[in-house]
Amino acid sequence: MHRHALRLLAVLGLAVLGSTSLAAQAPGNGHPEDYAPADIAYGARLYDSQCTTCHGPNGDGVGGIDFKTGKFHTAVTDRDLAGVITNGVAGKGMPAFKFDASELAGVIAYLRNINAFDRSSVKPGDAVRGQQVFEGKGDCGHCHRVGARGPRAAPDLSDIGATRGAGSIMRTLMDPSSQMMPINRPVHAVTRDGRVINGRRLNEDTYTVQLIDDQERLVSLTKADLREYTIRTVSPMPSYKGKLTDEEAADLLAYLLSLKGR
């Protein structure tokens, strides 16, 4: 009787994975190799600052729980883990943590890789230097907006660090098209009277499409009025693969992760 399966399953306490912004690249049953290195590294930093007080640096600080075993008291899936972290465990001293989706994905990725993760292999990025990369070498602000600065042609990044996981952001930098949300796809349209419209898709239905055009106007088009209508699946964003050093990429990632919106 599942008409609205995901909502339903959430109500029933069943596991639904990757339905929202969890580390969806992971199938959710905890295979360490399924998690992106950037998520694990981000999670490690969060773990160090938020979790070690009780669970200790090695994950065995609370009696009867040892994260290194890969087993948890009640949680089986990533969804379960997310539930325990965000809701806490009443009466057991586990508080509810207010992590955003990116942070949650990171912490779970780290918990799944607490054995394998080698801190020395990752040099944590620096958000301040990352902002310099954003504005300088990366020239990200040429297309992207953060807060009240920058153009609106490309997606606004003001809260990117709250909505996308570290792994997803890193993959975006290296292979933008692989991570482009369908809603952000470039639209090219020509009206019957020859007007050319280029922009980024915001919404679409059977009869109409909504976009922000390259003059930063909100435009709604009725498809029946168009002579030409193309949606591109290739992102116009350039890949930064090989263009940034590992250190610069880590810094940029740290900066982007620091953008949590308002």
């Binding site: 596991a15 339905s19 969806a24 997803s168 059977t206």
Partner: protein, 564 residues
Amino acid sequence: MMTRRATVARTVALLVAALAVRAHAQVTSDRLVNAARDAQNWITYSGTYFSQRHSTLAQITPANVKNLELKWMYQAAAPGGWQTSPLVVDGIMYVTQRPNDVVALDAKTGRVFWIYRHTLDPTQIVCCGANNRGLAMLGDTLFMGTLDARLVAIDAKTGRPIWNIAVADNKAGYSVTLAPLVVKDKVLVGVGGGEFGIRGFVAAYDARTGKQVWRFYTIPGPGEAGYDTWEACPAAQKTFCDPSAWKHGGGSVWVTGSYDPALNLTYWGVGNAGPDYNQEQRPGDNLYTDSVVALDADTGALKWHYQFTPHDRYDYDSVQVPVLADITWHGAPLKAMFWANRNGYFYVLDRETGQFLLGKPFVKVNWSSGIDEHGRPIQTPQPPGQPTWPGNQGGTNWYSPSYSPRTRLFYLSAWENYATIFGGLPAEYQEGRGFGGGVLRPVEPVPGAPGLAGLGRRGPINNWTETAGSGAVIALDPTTGERKWRFPTTDVTDSGILTTATDLLFTGGREGYFQALDARTGTLLWKASLGAQIINAPTTYAVDGKQYVATVSGLSLCVFGLRE
């Protein structure tokens, strides 16, 4: 010039006559059998016992449909999907609204006569919100099933309850969300609860007293025919196996059935096996889950069954409306049943015998590679982590299809190219608790990127693509299962479909459009932008010689008619 006394006498006589007419029962059993000839009214969930959701009203035509305008709206206040299909009897519309109300309205103006509010057990257990799909009517009495698994008879004139009986124990997860079906002097209902490990059934109640007349369990018990399809647990099985799986075997019935008066058979689609996704713990075919059952209308005795998805692991509820039609099949007359199943196949069965005649996919399917000559699907379970087509919500679902005897086409709302990654997990039965037994994952277009909340409701912004599936209205030639035409929609659709004798097709969708298509070609003729999901099945009726079309979008019940 009449004397005053004469005038009074005449007035009294007229009044008496009017009262006498009114004292007639509004909806008789005969009228139900002949509902197709009574097109100005809509007196049973699917329009007629054959459930074709086809009307012979012909005032609105492909030529004038562009002149449709909103005649009135009525708005409900309790949020959530509004799946109801209203009844219209002699100018009065009866409609259910959340949580479990009945509203009587003037079908011409939408103004309210009365509202009946059923007092629900505060602890009702339902899977998917306070859904109710509508009413049945006999005489001057309306019948409504409730979320707390009761059946209530309501006086159509006053909105007062006449009787109110328990159908099942809601604490154990039973509920009634379907519109009941009146056959002769009985009210037939099925129960929901397939996600709570219920043991499903169809039951008939005396319309006058509410006394149960018969009950057919969709899960046979020990000693009954079909019980052998709940096989004993193999000794060698290493994974969890439930030795008394049949006791909470599911098989809910939550969409209204059909009736063939000549055969005196009622047909009901049966829901998933419990637990939904972990078939390993319930070896065997698990009859009569995911089946259609043909029951004697007087006794509830099983005449035949056909199982669409044996040993289901995908929640492929066969809870669709059985569509009955008399057609010519390979040159001979056939009492046919058409069935577009959640599992992605379109079926033709002989409704007298249950014989399988045709099964053909109408969407991408990979859970099965075909159907053998006996009508049994050749199942091809996918490796763990790989997507299965169709996904958990199916190629279609409970949304009412339509069959037009004029175009001889079968119309349905489909989810195209939509898949789910399934995974089973052992589930221990606990009364009243979710009994799903699995992990579901949608196929996401951009792994790791933020999605909108699930597949359930996408909201006004469609952030999905063809990768995650899209929708369509599909017209099938039932004699071949071939597509005649297809009307694609960007978002998936859960709307029902209505056709009329002028070859118009009315349907809605998640994007909030209500549209009229040419039933022969699928060409768009007219649309209205109503701004919220349409998940009910449209109906049509006439009052004072004017045809109306009604649908529900969001929390607005909208009625359209021709501009004058």
